[in-house]
C-alpha cells in the first residue's frame, strides 16, 4: 500500500468516528500541552531569575538584617524585630581583607517635587560603590561622590524616567529637587537600564546613604551589598562576616547572607520539583490517552472485523492489517501532539503578552520528548489490538455480523 493511500484510508476512518477520534486527540493534546506549557513556564521563570541575579556577579554577597533559619525548625519566638545593620557595621565590613566594595542600602518611597511637578519615587540611599557593584553608569553628570559613609551631602543621581517625568526636555543637572522636606541637587542622570532585582533602575533616585537615614528618619540599613576580590573567597568571606557581626552584635550575628549561588541553587530545587510535576502530569494524561487508544483500537478492531476479513480476502496480508491499525494510532498521536503543541504555544504567547519581562518558550527537548512519548504511547497501546486484528481468521471475520 502506498503511504498516501494509507493516510487517506486512515483519515476516512477517523472522520467516520469523529467523536471517538476527538476524545483521543483531546487526551493526547492535553498531555503534550501540559509538558510544553509547564516546561515553557519553568524555562521562562528560570531565564528571568538568571537575568536578574546574573547582574549580581558571582563574587558579590548580600547581607540582610534578621536571621533566616535555613536549618529548619521554628524561628525563635522572641517577637523582637531584627537588629539593625548600622553604617558603622558597613564601614567595618569595608575594612575586611579581600573586600573590594561595600554598598549599604536604605530604600524608601518619597514624594519628589520639582517646581509644580510631583511624583512618588523610590529613593535608595547608598554609596559610590553601588555603581561599581551594579555596573551602573551615568549618561550625564557624575555618580555619587566617594566620601565617608556618614557624610550626608544633599546630592542625587536620578533615573531616566524620573528625569523625563520631572524635567521633561529641560536640563536637570544642577537643579534642586525636593524629596519630603529635604532638598537635593541633581548631579547625574543614570544610563537607561532595565529592571534588575526587583528595582526599576530608570525610576529611581540615588542619594548618599547618610542623607537617606535623615530623610526616612531610620538608622538601620535595608541591606548591604559586598563585593569580594574573587568568587573563590566568598565562602571564607561569609564566615568572616558572621564572625564580625557576632562581635558587633553582642554574640548573635542577626544577619542573613545571600549569594548568587544560593539563590540559583534554591531556584534549581524549585525547577526540579516543577519538572517532576510536569513529568507526573504528562505521564498521567498520556497514560489516559494510551488506555483510550487501546480501548478504541479494540473497539475499532471488533467493529471492523468483517472489514478485516474482507481486506484479507482481497489480498491484504497479516502484516498489512497490522500496519493499517498501527498507522491509524500513529496518525492520531501526531494529530493529538500537533494540537497539543498549538495549544501550548498559544498559551505561552498569551503569557508572554501578559508578562512582557518573561520569555516563556518551550525548550526543544521538551517538545521532542512530548511528541516522542505521545507516539510511543499510541503505538505501544495499539500494538496488542492491531496484532489481534492481524491474526483474525479471515473466514470467521467475514462471518461476523458487526458490519
Amino acid at each position: 500500500m502506498r503511504s498516501a493511500d494509507l493516510l487517506h484510508f486512515n483519515l476516512q476512518v477517523l472522520l467516520r468516528h469523529r467523536f471517538r477520534s476527538l476524545m483521543i486527540l483531546l487526551a493526547l493534546a492535553i498531555g503534550v500541552a501540559a509538558v510544553n506549557l509547564l516546561t515553557g513556564l519553568g524555562e521562562g521563570a528560570r531565564a528571568y531569575v538568571l537575568s536578574q541575579f546574573s547582574l549580581l556577579g558571582n563574587n558579590t554577597l548580600i547581607m540582610l538584617p534578621g536571621k533566616k533559619e535555613t536549618s529548619g525548625g521554628m524561628p525563635p519566638l522572641t517577637g523582637e524585630s531584627p537588629r539593625d545593620i548600622t553604617l558603622d557595621d558597613a564601614a567595618a565590613i569595608a575594612r575586611l581583607p579581600g573586600v573590594t566594595a561595600v554598598a549599604p542600602m536604605l530604600v524608601g518611597i518619597s514624594e519628589v517635587r520639582f517646581n509644580a511637578r510631583a511624583r512618588d519615587v523610590v529613593i535608595a540611599g547608598t554609596s559610590s560603590d553601588y555603581f561599581r557593584i551594579r555596573q551602573l553608569s551615568v549618561q550625564q553628570g557624575q555618580p555619587l561622590p566617594t566620601v565617608a559613609l556618614d557624610t550626608a551631602s544633599p546630592v542625587a543621581v536620578i533615573g531616566s524616567t524620573v528625569k523625563r517625568e520631572l524635567f521633561g526636555n529641560a536640563p536637570a543637572l544642577g537643579q534642586w529637587l525636593k524629596a519630603g522636606d529635604r532638598r537635593f541637587r541633581v548631579i547625574g542622570i543614570l544610563d537607561s537600564k532595565g529592571q534588575a532585582m526587583g528595582m526599576d533602575m530608570n525610576d529611581i533616585i540615588l542619594i548618599p546613604v547618610a542623607s537617606a537615614q535623615v530623610l526616612f528618619n531610620q538608622p538601620g540599613l535595608f541591606r548591604v551589598l559586598i563585593e569580594s576580590d574573587s568568587s573563590a573567597a566568598i565562602p571564607a568571606l561569609k564566615q568572616q562576616l558572621v564572625q564580625l557581626m557576632q562581635r558587633r552584635q553582642d554574640g548573635v550575628a542577626d544577619i542573613t547572607l545571600v549569594s548568587q549561588d544560593a539563590i540559583l541553587s534554591a531556584f534549581g530545587n524549585i525547577l526540579t520539583t516543577l519538572n517532576l510535576a510536569v513529568t507526573g502530569i504528562a505521564a498521567i494524561s498520556l497514560l489516559v490517552a494510551g488506555i483510550l487508544i487501546m480501548n478504541v483500537t479494540l473497539i475499532s478492531v471488533s467493529q471492523r472485523t468483517a472489514e478485516i476479513g474482507l481486506l484479507k480476502a482481497i489480498g491484504a496480508a497479516n502484516s498489512d492489517i497490522q500496519t493499517l491499525f498501527l498507522s491509524e494510532a500513529l496518525l492520531m498521536a501526531l494529530l493529538g501532539a500537533g494540537a497539543g503543541m498549538l495549544l501550548s504555544e498559544l498559551g505561552l504567547l498569551a503569557m508572554r503578552l501578559r508578562f512582557t519581562d518573561l520569555a516563556f518558550h518551550t525548550p526543544w527537548w521538551a517538545r521532542l520528548l512530548a511528541l516522542g512519548i505521545a507516539v510511543a504511547t499510541s503505538l505501544l497501546f495499539a500494538w496488542g489490538p492491531a496484532r489481534r486484528a492481524a491474526r483474525l481468521s479471515p473466514i470467521s471475520a467475514l462471518q461476523s455480523r458487526a458490519n
Binding site: A313, A316, I395
Partner: protein, 233 residues
C-alpha cells in the same frame, strides 16, 4: 489449473469432529463454469474458502497453477489472493464508509497501484457493470443488485483468473439476481474460471459442470472429467 487431492478439513464442535471436507479430489481447468450445490452444511462454503486460500486444509494437497499452496507463507497466500482470485459473497461485504468507486478501487490500493492507473481501471469497470452513475454513492445508498455489482467489480478489478462466488444471488430478487448471473457468465465467456455456490437449482443448471456435495463429500460431478469441458484452455 486446480488440483485437489484427498483434501480434508475438519472442525471441532465441542468434542465432536465435523468433516466439512472429507477426502475431496477434484481437478478444474482454466475457463470452466462450475456450480456447487448441496444441502446446508454440506461443506460448499468451506470448499470455496479453501480454493480461495482463505482457509487451510488439514490434510491433502491443493495445487494452484502447479504450486502446492499448503506450503505457502501468509504473505504469499495474500499475494495469490490479490493477484489470482476474486471473491463474491452473498452479503456483498462492501466497506460502508467508502463509495462504490472506492470499494472497487480497494484491491488496487492494497496492491500499491498508482492513482492514475487505478482511476482508468475503475472507470472502465464501472462502465462495464453499468455503475457509472452510482460511482460516488455509499453502499447504503445502493440497491442490493447494485451492491452485488460493486462487489463483482471489486472482485475482478485485479483481473484474476479464478472467480469464486458464494451464493451471489442469495440476497437478491429474481430480476437483479439474473442481472448478476449474466454479468458472471459474461466474465466466464471472456475466460475467467467461475465457481458458483448456490441453492438455486435453476441457476445451478446453467453451469456447464455441476458438483453436488453431501456431508463434505462430492457425490456427483456432472459431466465428470472436467478436461473435456474446458472451452478456453
Amino acid at each position: 489449473m486446480i488440483e485437489l487431492n484427498q483434501l480434508c478439513r475438519t472442525f471441532m464442535l465441542g468434542d465432536q469432529a465435523v468433516h466439512a471436507l472429507d477426502n475431496i479430489s477434484l481437478s478444474i481447468s482454466p475457463g470452466e463454469y462450475i456450480s456447487v450445490m448441496g444441502p446446508s452444511g454440506s461443506g460448499k462454503s468451506t470448499l470455496l474458502n479453501v480454493l480461495g486460500l482463505l482457509d487451510v486444509p488439514d490434510s491433502g494437497q491443493y495445487r494452484l497453477n502447479g504450486t502446492d499452496t499448503t506450503a505457502l507463507s501468509d504473505n504469499a497466500r495474500a499475494r495469490y489472493r490479490r493477484e489470482h482470485i476474486g471473491f463474491v459473497f452473498q452479503s456483498y461485504h462492501l466497506v460502508p464508509r467508502l463509495t462504490a468507486r472506492e470499494n472497487i478501487e480497494l484491491p488496487l490500493v492494497l496492491a500499491g497501484v498508482a492513482p492514475a492507473e487505478r482511476k482508468r481501471k475503475v472507470t472502465a469497470i464501472l462502465a462495464q457493470l453499468s455503475l457509472t452513475e452510482r460511482a460516488d454513492h455509499l453502499p447504503n445508498q445502493l440497491s442490493g443488485g447494485q451492491r452485488q455489482r460493486v462487489a463483482i467489480g471489486r472482485a475482478i478489478v485485479m483481473q484474476p483468473r479464478l472467480l469464486l462466488a458464494d451464493e451471489p444471488t442469495g440476497n437478491l430478487d429474481s430480476q437483479s439476481g439474473s442481472d448478476v448471473v449474466n454479468i458472471l457468465e459474461q466474465l466466464n465467456r471472456q475466460g475467467i474460471t467461475l465457481l458458483v455456490v448456490t441453492h438455486d437449482s435453476a441457476l445451478g443448471q446453467r453451469a456447464r459442470r455441476h458438483i453436488r456435495m453431501v456431508d463434505g463429500r462430492v457425490v456427483a460431478d456432472q459431466p465428470p472429467g472436467s478436461a473435456a469441458q474446458a472451452s478456453h484452455a
